[in-house]
Symmetry: C2
Subunit: 200 residues, 2 copies
């Protein structure tokens, strides 16, 4: 929902045309997440479908302006005033992957963690490099630097967790889980451990 809501929040400042929205999104997020132009138009049409924006005819320069509706403004306000919740459906791909790797008998969790660690260390170094190479005093630079700092902190946290996982897995050598039936039925049929354990 980030892109959709971001565009709506920008439109709450005043009418914009599609290409302009990309520009606004880019400079406000430091061009960190490149946004395909086509997505702008898709999203605008969906916002229009939902009654959150209306399209005005093209002006003398051919620009198609979009204007937020009352419902759209309410939606944007609601987004801004409600916190981001990372509980229910927000899956963390790295956490899932490491948890799966750690509990699969065949896979080498340490190798997965080591590979991830290398990549994260490199990523962190790269982030720090560009972070220090650019001016962060202008409003654009400030916004950009905040996004970069968010990434840097997240990567540092990621690394701390990876080390933590490796330590804990070392303390518990038997951490794998073999496949089992969803329910242990006390009926006739194969007893348990159906999977024949075709590990790699």
């Amino acid at each position: 929902m980030s892109v959709r809501q971001s565009l709506l929040a920008i439109l709450a400042q005043g009418p914009c045309y599609g290409y302009q929205l990309r520009h606004e999104f880019d400079r406000r997020t430091g061009s960190v997440w490149p946004l395909n132009v086509g997505q702008i138009y898709n999203t605008l049409e969906r916002l229009e479908r939902d009654g959150l924006v209306v399209r005005s005819g093209a002006d003398e320069l051919g620009h198609v302006y979009w204007e937020i509706t009352d419902a759209g403004r309410a939606d944007a306000d609601r987004w801004m005033s409600s916190p981001v919740t990372r509980t229910q459906t927000t899956r963390d791909e790295l956490a899932i992957k490491v948890a799966i790797a750690a509990t699969l008998p065949g896979s080498d969790a340490s190798a997965v963690i080591a590979a991830q660690r290398d990549a994260s260390v490199a990523h962190l170094a790269s982030l720090r490099g560009v972070r220090s190479s650019r001016d962060d005093s202008s409003p654009e630079g400030l916004a950009w630097s905040l996004v970069m700092d968010s990434m840097i902190l997240a990567t540092e946290s990621e690394l701390r967790w990876l080390d933590h996982v490796e330590t804990r897995l070392g303390e518990h050598p038997q951490h794998a889980l073999t496949l089992g039936l969803a329910v242990d039925r006390p009926k006739r049929g194969r007893p348990a451990g159906v999977g024949s354990a075709a590990s790699a």
Copy 2:
């Protein structure tokens, strides 16, 4: 891709039937991210479509088993051996939101940050509560605790960043960006600042 790849990784251990896959996913990720059963079957059909798994006829109990193919195994191996990259397309909703809030003239970035901070503090307390209330010595408990620790570390990092943002915004009172044209055209037409700044 997490769900899809996770199911494939589990199937690399041996054939499973749909409901069993949910069970396997749940206990390996600590039931932190509840997985709708319907999604299992959807995903399996898509994996089948892509030639990564094959479906076997139902056994005597009516269970429809799914088996990974060579291509599927290659895909699973590739996933496990390649690190998660959080650079290109992975958008951080909180970072986007705060960056947008900080650069929109009308919105109160401090209020957004304060609301998020409250929610994150509460979330962190809740996470720590359940984390300490459960046994983490069994393999299932270990996997669960690792996922919980990941969430705790991420939330701590989030809080650190929020405080950092508030500090930096305080140092730069003029951080807002007004709407501008995508390109400043030196032509006839409206000069600049088209948006009429209809702030809330």
